[in-house]
């Protein structure tokens, strides 16, 4: 038996995994090999030290408050309460708003592509002035909105302290889904809108560009 194999078997014996047939061969090797006997002693010493460390750490326990927080999360999670994520750590939360904001943007862009066909030129749709200064011959667009309108579902999000306004283009037929009333005579097409994105990355409100001071 080679030393490398014998040293693996020494560990197997310590873990009570040594096959019965190998016991004799291992002992025979240890009788002949001083280096492996030294290795066995070294590993026995290490095992004692590891057991002492395990014993020293055995009394370490969690705080009572953690159990209560987790129970709150369990109850909230099974009742659909928004507090389900109340004990989530920052590491868990970090990617959620970013992904949600990205998903919202993709949904808006996808809806725009599906409903309006090829994108019109930037000069026709990308400017807020289009709403108030229509081209000759086209009916004026009138959209009844003033200021920001909270997005659906935004009311369950936590209060925010700061944010940024992000300009996007949204197909007119999608506006009611965002809580913006549109008069029936408005034509289809993309309109510029401002999303109010809070510091946590979640969009909170929307308004049409060019309809505010």
């Amino acid at each position: 038996m080679r030393c490398y194999r014998a040293r693996h078997l020494v560990l197997d014996r310590a873990m009570n995994r040594l096959q019965r047939g190998l016991e004799t061969a291992l002992d025979a090797h240890l009788n002949e090999c001083a280096a492996c006997r030294a290795y066995v002693q070294q590993q026995q010493g290490l095992t004692c030290e590891l057991e002492r460390l395990a014993a020293a750490t055995a009394g370490v326990g969690t705080r009572q408050r953690l159990e209560e927080q987790l129970l709150d999360a369990l109850r909230a999670g099974h009742t659909g309460h928004p507090a389900a994520g109340a004990v989530m750590t920052a590491s868990t939360r970090r990617w959620v708003p970013i992904a949600a904001a990205a998903a919202a943007m993709l949904a808006i862009l996808a809806g725009w592509w599906l409903l309006s066909g090829p994108p019109p030129s930037r000069t026709a749709a990308g400017n807020g002035a289009t709403l108030s200064n229509p081209a000759p011959g086209n009916p004026p667009r009138t959209v009844s909105i003033s200021g920001f309108v909270p997005l659906p579902g935004a009311e369950v999000l936590p209060a925010f302290e700061s944010g940024a306004i992000v300009r996007v283009e949204i197909p007119l037929p999608l506006l009611p889904a965002y809580g913006i009333d549109v008069t029936p005579d408005v034509r289809d097409g993309p309109v510029p809108a401002d999303l109010l994105v809070a510091q946590d990355g979640w969009p909170r409100a929307i308004r049409l560009a060019g309809t505010h001071p």
Partner: protein
């Protein structure tokens, strides 16, 4: 599976997880009290920082709440499942908080070390030995540290450690062998600073 309302203290872990999936708070409390300390100790040995270990413990049991319905009794066991979750959270935290984890933070285990009344110099020497061992474990590469902590400190079998780590039993066996050999080298270098030379571990085994 146990009936609702059956005594929980004697319920096995599989039954508790099944009931947690249905929103049973009592079952969760029972499992938490039964397993939280082992999860915390695993995280503590892996990270060396009490605050991170507590965060990991919280994340592990949040994962249990969310994914209890995905646990399949028979394919694994709850202990291995919990250690597997803990291992993933530890790895995530170690990646994210790498600059925060300091191997020189000797106060990490200070409050957990035994405070025996006896020979002060002997106690001090023992405490120093344990501190050196703790640092040596934290200095191991993660793949070796995991198996050393699971098998040598948490007393998991090869099979349970393999289930927790998602690898073969033979892999656990060889990593444990290698990890303990590295540990012995580190401790030898610590206890004989005058002889400490940069050595390749391969020469030792």
């Amino acid at each position: 599976m146990m009936n609702a309302g059956a005594p929980l203290d004697s319920a096995d872990d599989d039954s508790l997880v099944a009931r947690i999936a249905l929103g049973d708070a009592d079952a969760f409390s029972t499992l938490f009290r039964r397993r939280c300390n082992t999860v915390l100790q695993f995280a503590l040995h892996m990270t060396g920082v009490r605050a991170i270990a507590e965060d990991v413990t919280q994340d592990v049991f949040l994962t249990v709440i969310r994914q209890a319905n995905r646990y399949k009794a028979g394919e694994s066991n709850v202990t291995a499942w919990l250690y597997g979750i803990a291992r993933n959270h530890v790895r995530h935290r170690l990646r994210r908080d790498r600059p925060v984890v300091s191997l020189d933070d000797s106060g990490v285990f200070e409050q957990e070390l035994p405070n025996d009344i006896g020979d002060p110099s002997r106690d001090l020497a023992r405490a120093e030995d344990l501190d050196a061992l703790r640092k040596a474990i934290l200095g191991l590469p993660k793949r070796y540290r995991e198996v050393v902590v699971l098998c040598s400190l948490q007393q998991l079998s090869y099979v349970d450690a393999a289930a927790a780590l998602g690898c073969a039993v033979g892999t656990v066996r060889s990593r444990l062998h290698r990890g303990r050999a590295l540990l012995a080298v580190k401790l030898g270098a610590t206890s004989r600073p005058a002889q400490a030379q940069p050595r390749r571990a391969r020469c030792v085994v």
